[in-house]
């Protein structure tokens, strides 16, 4: 526990050092005002933006979109992964495509999605989902592959039916890999939606950042950036804590 605390302290220390270094560089004018504002100014701007309520609509819009894309990716990815696992021949055909998936800059298809769905949240949900679902598919396949055969045999000795076997043996055994998929899917959905908004949309945090950038509102842009960054860290952290809570006992040697 003390070692974990030491690690956490080091991490916070590093962040703080970076924060202070940036602050010093900005204040000293080594980093120009138009390039970056001091971190304390970012915090102040972010607080002001949140307090004023003027970005509340963007926040709600962005996180609703992310939530939908994320939930859809986890559900679809899991179902597709399970189906592929059950159909080895199809899987052999699809495996190389899955492996190459993240090597392709998927965002080049984003304008196509906009053309398809119109300039609303649908193409954003689609890009988030397309970005996130394959991670869940891969994690699901990996998780199901790694269920030790002896546990499946055990289920048969206990005379479990198909559904019972899945529910009480296969899913719990695959859970660590599934959690990994869930965490990745969240990260990808987040990136996909924010980036999509940034490239082309009519609202949301990504759009607000892009807009501030194009209108030379550096302070506003950095306030928004800091907020997005913090949300990414906090939400990922929450997922991580949830995961370790649930899996801690079964992995501690």
């Amino acid at each position: 526990m003390t070692r974990a605390h030491a690690v956490a302290a080091t991490r916070i220390g590093l962040l703080l050092a970076g924060f202070l270094a940036l602050e010093a560089l900005c204040r000293a004018g080594i980093i120009g005002k138009l390039v970056m504002i001091p971190p304390t100014a970012m915090v102040a701007e972010m607080t002001a933006l949140l307090a004023s309520g003027e970005i509340t609509g963007d926040i709600v819009r962005t996180f609703t979109t992310i939530a939908i894309a994320f939930a859809g990716a986890v559900a679809l990815g899991f179902v597709a992964g399970a189906a592929l696992h059950a159909a080895p021949r199809l899987r052999r055909a699809v495996d190389p495509l899955l492996a190459a998936y993240y090597a392709v800059p998927g965002f080049i298809f984003y304008p196509l999605l906009v053309a398809l769905f119109g300039l609303n949240v649908l193409p954003l949900i689609a890009i988030g989902l397309l970005f996130a679902a394959p991670a869940m598919v891969i994690a699901t396949l990996l998780g199901l592959d790694r269920v030790p055969p002896v546990l499946r045999k055990c289920a048969r000795v206990h005379r479990l039916g198909r559904a019972e076997t899945v529910l009480h043996v296969v899913l719990p055994a695959a859970m660590p890999a599934l959690f990994n998929g869930i965490r990745l899917a969240f990260a990808y959905a987040f990136i996909g939606v924010i980036a999509g908004e940034f490239i082309l949309s009519g609202g949301g945090l990504g759009y607000a950042i892009g807009y501030a950038y194009e209108s030379f509102e550096a302070t506003r842009m950095y306030g928004l950036l800091l907020f997005v960054l913090m949300m990414a860290v906090v939400l990922n952290g929450a997922l991580y804590v949830w995961e370790t809570r649930l899996l801690r006992r079964r992995t501690r040697a």
């Binding site: 546990l151 005379r159 479990l160």
Partner: protein, 268 residues
């Protein structure tokens, strides 16, 4: 198919052959026959890779024989594990996501036993296997030998009439193995179950069993069956008896050549 003699047997294999499909297919087992008497303690010894685990799979109904047939309590096995058979596998089969107590309760819960009954039987099984103090531990916190005991407890709590154990003490040191053997004898006497134990330890087989089947190198067949003639009340102290030495010696003389074959050498 089974004649009068086999009808009295608790579980039988007749003319069983098992080949694993592949290119080329692996002829893992047989042809062999086996008739387990109700309530006996039968051990199987044989060189590694000779098909012992395959035999267990067929006898449990986990895999269908390529040729021949298997039956349990007079009914043929058809690719399904019948009620009344418990299996402890060679590999660790404890569920890492459940506590020791929940592992042991697993079968009873799935079978829909009521909570008080589950609690009572789980407590008894934990006590019996010396796991009482670890009821709330997770398998990851236990040694390999203790995890295997969890699996034994999970099996015995269901009161199977035929218990199949595949090298359950493989990972343990000699002293602990002898003591676990005593536990197993206690379990066997207490439950009146028929026990089939697969082991690579000849002394273990000689000490625990009513009969020991000796298997040839792959494809495994029985080349000898040794009756030990031990009384039902027995424990690890019989290792100091003269008869124990004689039985172990006979098992070894049968196996020596086969073990050399399994190593790819000629018997001198």
């Amino acid at each position: 198919m089974p004649d009068a003699g086999q009808g009295a047997a608790h579980a039988t294999l007749s003319g069983v052959v098992r080949r694993y499909p592949g290119n080329p297919p692996v002829h893992a087992l047989g042809p062999l026959d086996l008739a387990l008497r109700r309530g006996e303690f039968f051990s199987v010894v044989g060189p590694s890779g000779c098909g012992k685990s395959t035999l267990l799979d067929v006898l449990a109904g986990l895999s269908a024989p390529t040729e021949g047939s298997a039956s349990f309590e007079g009914a043929p096995l058809r690719g399904q594990v019948p009620d009344g058979i418990g299996v402890v596998f060679q590999e660790d089969a404890s569920f890492p996501w459940l506590t020791v107590a929940d592992n042991v309760a697993f079968g009873l819960r799935r079978a829909g036993a009521d909570a008080a009954e589950i609690a009572r039987r789980v407590a008894y099984a934990l006590d019996f296997m010396g796991l009482k103090d670890f009821a709330h531990a997770y398998p990851a916190q236990l040694s390999g030998g203790m995890r295997q005991r969890v699996c034994i407890a999970r099996t015995l709590v269901l009161r199977p009439r035929l218990i199949l154990l595949d090298e359950p003490f493989g990972a343990l040191d000699q002293q602990t193995r002898l003591l676990m053997g005593d536990e197993l004898l206690r379990l066997w006497r207490e439950t009146d179950a028929t026990v089939l134990l697969i082991t690579h330890a000849l002394d273990e087989a000689a000490m625990l069993s009513d009969r020991v089947g000796v298997m040839s190198a792959r494809p495994g067949r029985f080349i000898d069956t040794v009756e030990t003639g031990w009384p039902r009340e027995r424990d690890s102290r019989i290792v100091s008896e003269a008869a124990f030495g004689a039985i172990t010696a006979r098992l070894w003389s049968c196996l020596r050549g086969e073990s050399l074959k399994a190593l790819g050498r000629e018997a001198p």
